[in-house]
């Protein structure tokens, strides 16, 4: 889902887990994983630029699917 306008990272119940590059439907993105959500961002073009948020994935509603490679 698109990041809601009222979404705020700083929350006393939220914990930061890790960050790193990932691929979303073949597109290179950068993710920030928290205990309750995954924030998917566009990778900055230049070093030092800030991340533009693209999608917010709520872990409460998410589920994992095992797929064979190439399917």
């Amino acid at each position: 889902m698109v990041v809601p306008q009222n979404f705020e990272i700083v929350d006393h119940t939220r914990q930061f887990i890790l960050e790193g590059p990932l691929r979303v439907l073949g597109v290179a993105r950068y993710g920030f994983l928290f205990n309750d959500c995954l924030l998917i961002c566009k990778i900055p073009q230049k070093q030092g630029q800030l991340y533009a948020t693209k999608q917010l994935l709520s872990l409460k509603e998410a589920f994992a699917v095992d797929e064979e490679p190439g399917t």
């Binding site: 990041v3 306008q5 009222n6 979404f7 705020e8 990272i9 700083v10 929350d11 006393h12 939220r14 914990q15 930061f16 960050e19 920030f32 924030l39 961002c41 630029q49 800030l50 991340y51 533009a52 948020t53």
Partner: protein, 175 residues
Amino acid sequence: MLKFYAVYCSNQPNIRARLQEYTAENAPLESFLKKCFWAPQCRKLDFESFLIKPLQRLCKYPLLLRVRLCTLATTAVAAVCSSTLLLLRMQELMKYTGQEHGDFVDLTNAYQKIVTIVDQVNERVRKVENVARLLEVSSKFENTEVRWRRESIYLALTWLTLTCCCCSYGRTTEL
């Protein structure tokens, strides 16, 4: 008194930055602190060294009490302190202290209380560090709505303060 340790110690990580800020803005304060540093009573310890003393002391209490308890009764403490190291230490200390002692109950209570306080402090520090980490992460985003706002920090820190106070008064329900 001990409940204030939780609040005080959780602010410990901010002390250095705040002190630098104050001394940079206030030349007389900086000069006064330097003067104190060289005073014989301060034994060449700077102001920051004194500010961390309560935290250091708090960490020493359980160790002190545990050692003292170990000297009082081997069998009673064995149920609480099961580590081999402590048992060995107890045996060593038992040479010098008898098993029966009138202070045993008070010391046990003191030990349990201080352990609770230390746990609270650790938990609060962990939460404050978590908020600080979230602030750090949020500063990496260009979207203004995602980045931190003053109200968010205020609410997060207020929650921590209220939680801490409630814990201190024996309530464990979260706000």
